[in-house]
Amino acid sequence: MEILITDDSKAMRMIVMRHLRQAGFDDAVFYEAGNGLEGLEMVESHDLDLILSDWNMPEMDGYEFLIQLRSRGHEVPFGFVTSENTPDMLQKARTAGAMFLIGKPFTVDIFRETLRAAGVS
């Protein structure tokens, strides 16, 4: 499984990877991007199975990243991992095509349950 983690914080990318490994994705291959623009480049050059993205990022935020992704015809499963954890943001994310939104701070159990519920395995 190939997973892209997009977050402007390298620390958070490390933590998300660690949580994913502990949630059962220890065999996954992880790629990293620092914003939506870098994420779009990664999508064009890799056959990704899942994208996890922060919302607030410089250059291109996670929401615009998702919009651009879908407008280019990429249907790779996409979820947000963000501090923007409000009902409005969740609705906006789902409307744009996100499968789920994991709010920060999170736990390994939240990752496991959310990904299972989204059918990602």
Partner: protein, 157 residues
């Protein structure tokens, strides 16, 4: 019930949000809080993030010594004592903790002010200086092994 116009309401929520982050991401569940003089510490490293909405313009910050921030970063990033922690990792970790805490404030307050927007965190060394148009609040968060100052600054209407 406190009004959304009262800084103390935002500070109560800030402490609650920090407590959640400390438990979930730093694995500390016995944080003690106490208020201090709003003048606060001078020339101290800290991370600050704006939260802006119709109900006002606020800035939330977490200040601490570099030594305490380094310990915080090790705990947050699962870096052992035998490994080095870089300055960039320390700044990144503190910024992210500040971001998560402010996100928690937004989550708790967005029902009262749906217009709230969260900015990006900035890390610098300095002092909080409120103008006559601003009010400030500072509390100590004592994690036993580290102590931080939680800072809130609000524009008066």
């Amino acid at each position: 019930m406190k009004s959304v116009d009262e800084l103390s309401l935002w500070c109560d929520v800030f402490v609650d949000a920090f407590h959640e982050v400390a438990e979930a991401s730093l694995f500390v569940n016995n944080v003690k809080y106490y208020a201090v003089e709003p003048s606060g510490p001078k020339n101290t490293p800290g991370s600050y993030i704006p939260l802006i909405g119709d109900s006002g313009s606020l800035t939330f910050g977490i200040q601490g010594t570099w030594q305490d921030f380094s310990r915080l970063a090790r705990r947050f990033l699962f870096i052992g004592d035998e490994e080095d922690v870089t300055d960039e990792e320390v700044v990144d970790a503190v910024n992210e903790l500040c971001n998560m805490t402010a996100g928690g404030v937004k989550k708790r307050m967005v029902g009262r002010d749906p217009s709230l927007k969260l900015g990006l965190p900035t890390f610098f060394t300095g002092s909080v200086q409120a103008t006559s148009e601003q009010e400030s609040w500072i509390a100590v968060a004592d994690l036993a092994t580290e102590r931080f100052h939680l800072v809130a600054l609000r524009q008066r209407k």
